[in-house]
Symmetry: C2
Subunit: 176 residues, 2 copies
């Protein structure tokens, strides 16, 4: 898909997925490889990825998180940060990798989401981390559901260019 | 450009730029619009952008940062975070927007970079922020140079897939 079409089409799917719409392993690998191609501080490549396709794991993550999106997702990609290795930059690292994954999933015709808020809660993060055998020195930061929509998801409006960008100084509007 | 070609071509240009290779205002706008299309926590769209094309400003930013890349960049995009609005997520927000900008610049045939470490130093960040009239409640997080290479920049190797990804559990290698 053409790059700027992908940029336009990506959205955060916050409704149910079609649980039967699982991407192939090859597609999931291709999507995660895009995540790996993202820049990282000092090229440490601190983010790591767990691809989740097993029905039992998917079901348990849906139950632990009690999240409608994750309860129906036919596949997930967990993005792990490495705060010890990448110190002050691990959040930027995993966010850039996550964005590449969202775009790559979109480019292959899937809907995707970026779920991180719920994993800031240790009561959710710890049992999911245990389920995936994530070591103590890695941090489960994001889970990305990947699949086709089961129900239509809303596209949320973006602010106009002029509200967020300016030229040669903050809030300097260019004469049109 | 095809999406996955952009993913493959993006790299962090850490050598000199050709100072005469300034993108057009339309191209810069198109690049920043890609940044605005990135997801953000609660759709707050916390990142803001200052596009820098004025020769005097570019020169001063090169001098303050004393950075070879920024000394030669024909255009820059400053990415501002909003820690007050987006609280615990402003870093993820600006990182996702930055990654979209890097990819969009690449899609239009430019080389780009992600300079953030130097702006963690208040002695660099504050004079550049003052130069761009950035208000106290916004944080200059990243400056992205955009242009054509003046000298060839190295492409840095990425780790193999198996070192960073696994299936249905951390470090679980799938039988091939």
């Amino acid at each position: 898909m053409e790059f700027f079409d992908v940029i336009r089409k990506r959205y955060s799917h916050k409704a149910a997925f079609d649980p039967t719409s699982r991407p192939t392993d090859e597609e999931l690998r291709h999507i995660v490889e895009a995540g790996m191609a993202a820049p990282s501080a000092m090229n440490l490549q601190s983010p790591e990825f767990v691809i989740i396709t097993e029905a039992g794991l998917l079901r348990q993550i849906g139950e632990i998180t009690d999240n409608a999106v994750l309860r129906s997702a036919p596949a997930m990609i967990a993005v792990l940060g490495n705060p010890e290795a990448a110190e002050a930059f691990y959040r930027e690292d995993y966010a850039a990798a996550t964005e590449n994954i969202l775009l790559a999933g979109t480019a292959l015709g899937y809907s995707v989401g970026w779920l991180d808020g719920i994993f800031r809660d240790a009561a959710v993060r710890e049992p999911v981390s245990a389920l995936l055998n994530i070591p103590q020195d890695r941090l489960l930061c994001v889970v990305i559901p990947v699949g086709k929509p089961g129900e239509e998801g809303a596209r949320r409006a973006k602010k106009p260019f002029e509200e967020r960008a300016s030229w040669n100084g903050y809030a300097v509007r260019r004469p049109s």
